[in-house]
């Protein structure tokens, strides 16, 4: 390997690592706020990439029907609960969010899709179609289980992964898609050529990380999420609803997933089930920070990207084996740092 190849591989690794870092942050966020080990984060990535790909082909993306169906299911559950408890006050909001909003987005997408709008409109529309799914998933799967153990939440999480992956197949079909690069620009930087695409991905990831940082530092909702992460009971005592925190967290996770999907769409061919593996790589990254530290998760994710990039150079067929086996030494390291845990688990 010469310097040029090493630089090229590093560039690839950094680009993928930036995307994994976004996913790792989402996974840490979901875990610290809701205690859910959020395995299906990658499903949002597939949805995001395939939605954008459909729009670029002038087709109405399958996400539209998925969103409408999920919204109706959520409204139905809210309706049944309202009826059973005789409390109708919250129902209009649920109907607006779960029925009216998806229908409006569906109408907009159906109208816009064949008109080949500019790329930025396609991107915003793709994200808008996926973000509401986050809160719906939380409402349907996790809200009734707020007091469940980490174990139960994890099993539910993989169950949701099963459902979301299968629904991806139904609504997007088995074909893969790859969108054209956002830019063909290239920059000469000494001996290496930097692609504009890579810079765009890394830049977008860093921008999103900064936005998230400001959200958590400066806004009341961001602080509410942090409070919930530190102490759920304490947060509830000062009026931060666990449900609100959960929905907000999943909304953020869906948004981050969708953005990641859009960033990855020109880099790799994405199938309905590709997201799972991409999300798991984010997961591997987050384990470096024991799934609780944001900076370590981001560092871990970039390392995963690098390892994958160099791994595919040396042993292309075994790159997944290399990436996932690398988790084992990380676990050893974590294990050596821990004194002993005596945690509680409920029924």
């Amino acid at each position: 390997m010469d310097v040029q190849i090493a630089l090229l591989l590093s560039q690839d690794g950094l680009t993928n690592g930036a995307i994994y870092a976004l996913l790792a942050l989402a996974i840490v966020l979901v875990f610290v706020v809701t205690r859910v080990l959020w395995v299906p984060q990658g499903e949002f990535v597939s949805y995001g990439a395939l939605t954008l790909a459909s729009l670029q082909l002038g087709k109405v993306p399958g996400t539209v029907w998925l969103l409408v169906c999920a919204g109706l299911a959520t409204a139905l559950v809210d309706g049944v609960v309202a009826w059973r408890e005789g409390r109708w006050r919250r129902l209009p909001r649920s109907l607006a969010f779960n029925v009216a909003l998806p229908l409006a987005l569906a109408a907009l997408a159906t109208w816009l899709a064949p008109r080949n709008p500019p790329l930025i409109v396609q991107i915003v529309l793709s994200i808008a179609l996926i973000v509401p799914l986050g809160a719906m998933v939380y409402r349907l799967a996790f809200q009734p289980l707020q007091r469940a153990s980490v174990l139960v939440l994890l099993i539910v999480s993989v169950a949701v992964h099963f459902a979301m992956q299968g629904l991806g197949l139904v609504f997007f079909g088995p074909e893969g898609a790859r969108t054209p690069a956002f830019t063909d620009a290239r920059f000469e930087l000494g001996v290496m050529t930097v692609s504009g695409q890579s810079l765009l991905v890394i830049g977008a990831s860093m921008l999103l990380i900064i936005v998230l940082y400001l959200f958590f530092e400066r806004t009341i909702y961001g602080k509410a999420l942090r409070a919930t992460a530190v102490n759920r009971t304490g947060a509830r005592l000062v009026g931060i609803s666990t449900t609100l925190a959960g929905k907000l967290t999943f909304t953020l996770a869906a948004g981050i997933g969708a953005v990641s999907g859009i960033l990855v769409a020109p880099i790799a061919t994405i199938y309905y089930d590709s997201g799972f593996l991409i999300g798991l790589k984010g997961f591997v990254g987050s384990v470096v920070g024991a799934i609780v530290s944001y900076p370590l998760a981001a560092v871990g994710a970039v390392l995963v990207g690098m390892l994958e990039s160099f791994g595919s150079f040396y042993a292309s067929a075994l790159k997944e084996v290399i990436v996932f086996t690398a988790l084992l030494p990380v676990l050893v390291w974590l294990s050596l740092r821990t004194r002993h845990v005596e945690e509680e688990d409920e029924e």
């Binding site: 169950a159 086996t325 005596e342």
Partner: protein, 594 residues
């Protein structure tokens, strides 16, 4: 004959006769159900009973299948030799994963097994010697003596003999000393460790057992299909095995078989019907499985078995040992530990400090206890009494200071090691297994007084030790007045009785030092009297008692000396009548006169 035994015999008869009457297709399906059941039995033990999860079970199945496929086709080994080879390989992998994840919180085992499951899958698919995606063909059939097992019906008996053996072994295991320790894992590590249960050891054991069962299933699979390729060993299959265990539920060993049956049949049916409904091909059944699991975990987390238990006599109550002296074999009593002579120094706490962040919960507390003494530790709520208990019992390490037990420094030891030295405790917030019977809960307390591992339990070689443990549990329950509730689920007792159950559990450990955290809370007057009498009797037998209690009448009439704490500080130490007259104590309890 008991109804349970009758039911088991009926089930066996149905299993034995089934292949004679059903179609070839159904036999194939039953073979797959049997193979899945083996894996699901392991998942049920691991997840349902032990509260751990693995996403690598399909990879262990694959390890079993590929080991035999490679060794038989490329090296000409006999399949009967490849099984031990596969099991040995599985043991090595499982122990490695256990060692590196089980020191961490429970959710790192599934994380580690995801990595293992995915790595192995891609290894199968990409290593040339393993045939890549096309796999390995020509795996030989199994041969028993001269007889070749090459029909589905013959294989059926082989598979289900293994399933039934696994079920019997599992039932035996759960109804034993190691079984109770495993069942205690989900109730929180703190209680199990305080009874001397090595929770990391048992977590590793159940992970290993579940991996070995998966490996066995893979070995059988390879010789049934006589072909292996990577696809049946993907992480999705691991998730399905987990779902089987959840569907059946862990309340009964048959749950895994029920779950495997439901999921296998449902999958068959959905793969048939869904592509026609959707007009496309693909694994759409995952949608139904996913939604089904979410609903099941929200609505009926215990699975199908409790529902079946309502109609079928599935529950086999524990055999309660007789206490009549004539019927007790002499070896059936557990050995007692020699108690230190009265007045000997027993426990010494020197300048113990415990901080939680900025809060100093215990600040430079010092006291000592002599053998045969009842020492009261009192103070208003939030004084740090329970933290002090946790420092003495090794649940927490002190931030500074020392704890000495009979001349040995113990503050760096874990609670299990302190339990081994003859310290038993109860908890302020009751810690017991609500679903287990009262007598089994108490028998956990006697864990350290008997020995016997998983193999002995599975093979029922442990019955003498088991009888003596249960006998001890019964003796202690009779002693504290819960003799009428032996078989009731512990969670069904009123809270006061649950506290008394904890006292019995601590006594079953035959302690020299007993730490009781508010034992009288929730008791009626007569029950408090009985408890006080019991504690006095225990003192007479040489047991020393450290008591936290808010009922001052109860405390003052019982204890020899008192330590009073307030806001983490030690404000007084002395005899009951001195403490009652101490102005600082009066101020702490009643508030000062401004």
């Amino acid at each position: 004959m008991s109804p349970q035994r009758l039911l088991s015999l009926a089930a066996l008869a149905v299993l034995a006769l089934a292949p004679l009457v059903v179609s070839e297709f159904s036999v194939t399906l039953l073979n797959y159900i049997g193979l899945a059941s083996l894996v699901a039995i392991g998942c049920s033990l691991l997840t349902g009973v032990g509260g751990l999860t693995s996403f690598g079970q399909a990879a262990f199945v694959g390890l079993g299948a590929y080991t035999t496929a490679v060794l038989t086709t490329q090296f000409g080994w006999s399949p009967w030799l490849t099984l031990p080879a596969g099991l040995a390989l599985t043991t090595a992998v499982a122990m490695l994963l256990a060692v590196i994840t089980l020191r961490l919180s429970g959710h790192f085992l599934p994380v580690g097994t995801i990595a293992w499951g995915i790595s192995l899958y891609y290894l199968f698919a990409n290593v040339d010697g393993l045939g890549g995606q096309t796999g390995i063909t020509g795996v030989p059939p199994l041969q028993i003596g001269e007889h070749v097992v090459n029909t589905g019906r013959e294989f059926y008996y082989l598979v289900w003999i293994f399933v039934v053996l696994a079920l019997v072994a599992m039932r035996n295991l759960l109804d034993s000393r190691p079984g109770r320790a495993i069942r205690a894992l989900r109730g929180g590590v703190m209680m199990a460790e305080s009874c001397g249960v090595d929770t990391q050891h048992y977590r590793a054991v159940i992970f290993l057992v579940s991996a070995l069962l998966a490996c066995l299933s893979g070995w059988l699979y390879a010789h049934l299909i006589r072909f292996v390729n990577p696809s049946p060993f993907s992480i999705n299959l691991s998730i399905e095995y987990l779902f089987m265990a959840v569907i059946g539920g862990a309340s009964h060993v048959w749950g895994a078989v029920v779950g495997a049956t439901v999921l296998t049949v449902l999958k068959q049916w959905l793969q048939d019907i869904l592509p026609r409904l959707i007009h496309a091909s693909g694994n759409f059944e995952t949608i139904v499985f996913g939604l089904l699991m979410v609903l099941l975990l929200q609505r009926a987390r215990t699975g199908i078995m409790p529902f079946l238990s309502r109609f079928l006599p599935l529950e086999q109550p524990v055999a309660v040992p007789d206490l009549e002296p004539s019927k007790v074999e002499p070896e059936a009593t557990l050995a007692s530990r020699p108690k230190p002579a009265a007045g000997e120094p027993l426990l010494e706490v020197r300048q113990a400090v415990r901080r939680f962040g900025g809060l100093v919960a215990v600040n430079r507390i010092s006291f000592e206890m002599r053998a045969g003494e009842i020492l009261g530790l009192i103070g208003p709520n939030g004084a740090g009494k329970s933290t002090m208990f946790n420092l003495i019992t090794g649940v927490l390490a002190p931030s500074a200071g020392e704890v000495w037990l009979r001349g040995e420094r113990v503050d760096h030891l874990r609670s299990r090691q302190i339990a081994q030295r003859g310290v038993a405790r109860t908890f302020q917030h009751v810690q017991l297994r609500p679903g287990m019977s009262v007598i089994e809960n108490v028998a956990i307390g006697a864990h350290l007084r008997a020995s016997g591992g998983v193999m002995g339990a599975a093979l029922r070689l442990d019955r003498a030790a088991e009888r003596s443990m249960l006998r001890e549990a019964r003796v202690q329950l009779e002693r504290v007045g819960l003799g009428a509730e032996l078989l009731a689920p512990a969670g069904s007792l009123p809270l006061g009785s649950q506290r008394i159950l904890e006292v019995a559990r601590a006594l079953a450990a035959d302690p020299m030092l007993l730490l009781l955290d508010e034992p009288a809370a929730g008791l009626r007057y007569q029950e408090k009297r009985a408890l006080a009498d019991l504690l006095v009797r225990l003192r007479g037998e040489g047991v020393s008692i450290l008591l936290v209690e808010h009922d001052m009448d109860f405390v003052m009439n019982l204890v020899d000396r008192l330590v009073v704490m307030q806001f983490g500080e030690q404000i007084a130490t002395g005899l009951p009548h001195e403490i009652q007259a101490n102005p600082a104590v009066i101020e702490a309890y009643l508030g000062g006169v401004e």
